[in-house]
């Protein structure tokens, strides 16, 4: 009996192992006959190519491993910004689609139908090439908010110049810890004595006052560096100083956000519509204000419906960010699975590392979202 149950499973496992073994041996064999070696030693070699945009210190004299890190951080950067912005936009659009106001409702519907039905790569090209051509050359760019220039070569804006940034940073962390314990304390008080504190105002106060103190007593100092126009040739200009954000990052973020937000908006709409009308009416009947109804009754239940499909969208956004290669944003695929692979010829190793990296990022996002989903799930008693 038991044997009968185990046998098919054992055979399946054996089959998978054999298939995998066959492919490995086949690859090994082919690589041997073609004189290709397998190994990761190349990661320590000098990369000898430069990268347009990096969050960490990098130039071509660093190793391939460092170039990998640059690509990874650039992928994470665009993914995180994309996730935050698309969530914000998605929630707004999702709620707007349920608005009784005809204009708001239809505008939101049109936005969703348009952006989710046009291929993402096309949208990336559109924002990069169409928008790029529409932007002014550096020398013609108008000053925005007294600080920034939006040009064809990117967004140039002011950059903070810190003195003793580490002290400020520590103060910021302390403030967050204090706020966490204060909120815990306030909740306990409310549960035990029914006493309500103005939690938000006090938290905000701590968040501002503690770091601000370091300016007075900690020797922290902040000034701003402004971008300045520099002439390269008769008709060629650029900006120096300040902070330069490449147009590739802007176009990619814009495209990913606008595309993914449509799906998140649909999730939000489905989540809210999935909550029975009676819930809302019951909440209103016990005297809750409309915003309290949304915050205390509808949203906590709707989130359980919204979170799982939205996790998928976060994963999609992260994976879609690899389309960056088409418009020269130096993400993991362009830098590592592109240039580094070409320069070293280590296709199997590099594709393997890249796949493992995306898998790790995706599983991390999944794990976090599952944890969050569990936390907000209804506790059955």
């Amino acid at each position: 009996m038991k044997f009968k149950k185990i046998l098919p499973q054992f055979l399946t496992l054996l089959f998978i192992v054999l298939i995998f073994g066959f492919f490995t041996m086949n690859a090994q064999d082919n690589m041997d006959t073609r004189g290709i070696e397998f190994g990761f030693g190349f990661l320590k070699q000098e990369a000898s190519f430069d990268i347009q945009f990096s969050l960490i210190d990098y130039d071509g004299s660093r190793s391939y491993a460092r170039a990998y890190l640059v690509g990874l951080l650039n992928t994470l950067l665009v993914s995180i910004i994309g996730i935050i912005l698309s969530t914000m936009l998605g929630v707004v659009i999702g709620v707007a689609r349920l608005s009784p106001n005809y204009l708001i409702n239809k505008t939101a519907s049109f936005y969703v139908e348009f952006f989710r039905n046009v291929p993402l790569l096309l949208q990336i090209f559109f924002w990069y090439f169409a928008a790029l051509r529409a932007l002014p050359m550096p020398e013609d760019a108008p000053l925005i908010f007294g600080s920034s220039y939006m040009t064809i070569k990117g967004l140039y804006t002011i950059a903070p110049v810190w003195n003793n940034f580490d002290i400020f940073f520590v103060a910021l962390i302390i403030a967050l810890v204090v706020i966490y314990f204060f909120n815990k304390f306030a909740k306990k008080k409310q549960e035990e004595e029914g006493k309500q504190y103005p939690k938000f105002l006090i938290s905000l106060g701590i968040f501002i006052i503690l770091p601000a103190l370091t300016f007075i007593v900690g020797g922290v100092d902040l000034s701003w560096s402004f971008p300045e126009l520099k002439q390269l040739a008769k008709t060629s200009f650029t900006y120096e100083g300040g902070l330069g954000i490449p147009p590739e990052l802007i176009a990619l973020t814009l495209a990913l956000t606008l595309y993914t937000a449509t799906f998140i908006a649909e999730n939000v709409r489905a989540g809210i519509q999935g909550i029975g009308k009676g819930q809302k009416e019951a909440a209103a009947s016990i005297g809750l204000t409309p915003s309290q109804v949304l915050k205390l009754v509808i949203m906590p239940q709707a989130l359980r419906i919204i979170i799982p499909p939205t996790t998928n969208q976060y994963l999609n956004l992260t994976k879609n960010s690899s389309l960056a290669a088409a418009i020269a944003y130096p993400d993991l695929v362009l830098v590592f699975a592109g240039t580094a692979m070409m320069q070293t010829g280590r296709a199997i190793e590099i594709v393997g590392i890249t796949m493992a990296t995306y898998l790790t990022i995706s599983l991390s996002i999944s794990a976090f979202m599952n944890w969050y989903n569990k936390r907000i799930a209804i506790q059955e008693k």
Partner: protein
């Protein structure tokens, strides 16, 4: 009686040994790639995704260019028909993997011959069909006429996965100029971004610059600077480990160049069979057994010249007459002041 039997057996054994020996060498000469190609009936050739003059497809899907002609020459030699080629357009990033994985048998895609590529990643370069060098293109109205006018903060558009990225770094580092590289996966996007004004300069091989300039909105607004910052010998590549196939590709290219040297063209090749010059006769298959070593017939080189033409014809047709690079520069024969020099077919 017994004596004779013994002698007979040894004779049979000797014949058998000899026979196996000859069939074996013959089989060895018929390389695996050659055998597969003849079985399939077409040469599998990896080319660029569109570089006028080198490998470019027209609206009807016909490929032309000097790189394309190398593959056509091989097809003429091994299959008897220069049109029996299946072209696979490849990005710079994909090209070597396509070759080493066996998806194509010749990579003829303006590829620079370097030590690490030749020695490291399972490739063998068979020769040079175009001597090139990396240069810079700028907008004419910028007033820049030399790379010495480049200043800190310049941005340069280019392709990823090429020697260009490495040369560019060497060049700017040696001049002490800080620069922003903007590297795209495909050439079309590089051209579009540079054309839109994203970069101050566009850098790649000079032949590529000349070819891509024709794709700009207004080609006359751009100039290629005179400086050459690297050596880029471009040539066809094959997989490591099939020396017969390697030789076939190498000598198909050499035949084209040598034919030009001896004045053999697609028009006069047949008449040259009766030439007085033994070197010319060897080139058109009228003397010697020049194909046997590859497992080919004797007129393989005649077919190349008749169907594809010599190197000069190919250059004129694809690069000079199209206005890309009318001046042959280093790609002229050694007898005419260039550096094209190939070993003799004999």
């Amino acid at each position: 009686m017994f004596k004779y039997v013994k002698q007979l057996t040894s004779l049979v054994a000797m014949v058998a040994v000899l026979f196996t020996f000859t069939t074996e060498t013959f089989a060895a000469k018929k390389s695996k790639t050659l055998k597969n190609t003849q079985k399939k009936g077409f040469v599998r050739c990896g080319v660029s995704q569109g570089l006028p003059g080198f490998s470019n497809a027209d609206a009807a899907g016909n490929w032309t260019g000097v790189d394309v002609d190398v593959c056509r020459a091989v097809a003429a030699a091994v299959l008897g028909d220069a049109n029996k080629v299946k072209f696979t357009p490849l990005s710079a990033k994909e090209r070597f993997t396509a070759l080493t994985s066996g998806e194509i048998d010749i990579l003829s895609r303006n590829t620079t011959w370097t030590l690490s590529r030749d020695a490291d990643i399972g490739l063998t370069f068979v020769g040079v069909n175009f001597y090139d060098g990396q240069g810079f293109m700028v907008r004419k109205d910028s007033g820049i006429t030399s790379t010495s006018q480049f200043k800190n903060g310049i941005s340069a558009c280019t392709n990823i996965g090429t020697t260009t990225e490495l040369n560019m770094r060497d060049f700017f580092n040696s001049k002490g100029i800080s620069y922003t590289p903007v590297a795209f996966e495909k050439a079309d996007e590089v051209v579009a971004a540079y054309d839109a004004g994203r970069c101050d300069t566009y850098t790649t091989d000079k032949s590529g610059l000349a070819a891509q300039r024709t794709k700009m909105t207004n080609p006359d607004d751009h100039i290629v600077l005179p400086e050459t910052i690297s050596k880029e010998p471009l040539g066809p590549v094959v997989r490591q480990g099939d020396s017969v196939w390697e030789d076939i590709v190498r000598w198909s290219l050499n035949t084209m160049i040598e034919a030009e040297e001896y004045g053999v063209t697609s028009a006069n090749a047949d008449m040259m069979k009766t030439s007085e010059n033994p070197q010319i006769k060897r080139l058109v298959g009228a003397e010697g057994e020049m194909g046997a070593a590859f497992g080919l017939d004797n007129e393989w080189n005649l077919r190349i010249i008749k169907q594809v033409g010599n190197y000069g014809e190919s250059y004129k047709r694809n690069i000079a007459d199209t206005g890309i690079l009318p001046d042959r520069g280093p790609n002229e024969l050694w007898t005419k002041g260039g550096i094209l020099y190939v070993p003799p077919s004999r």
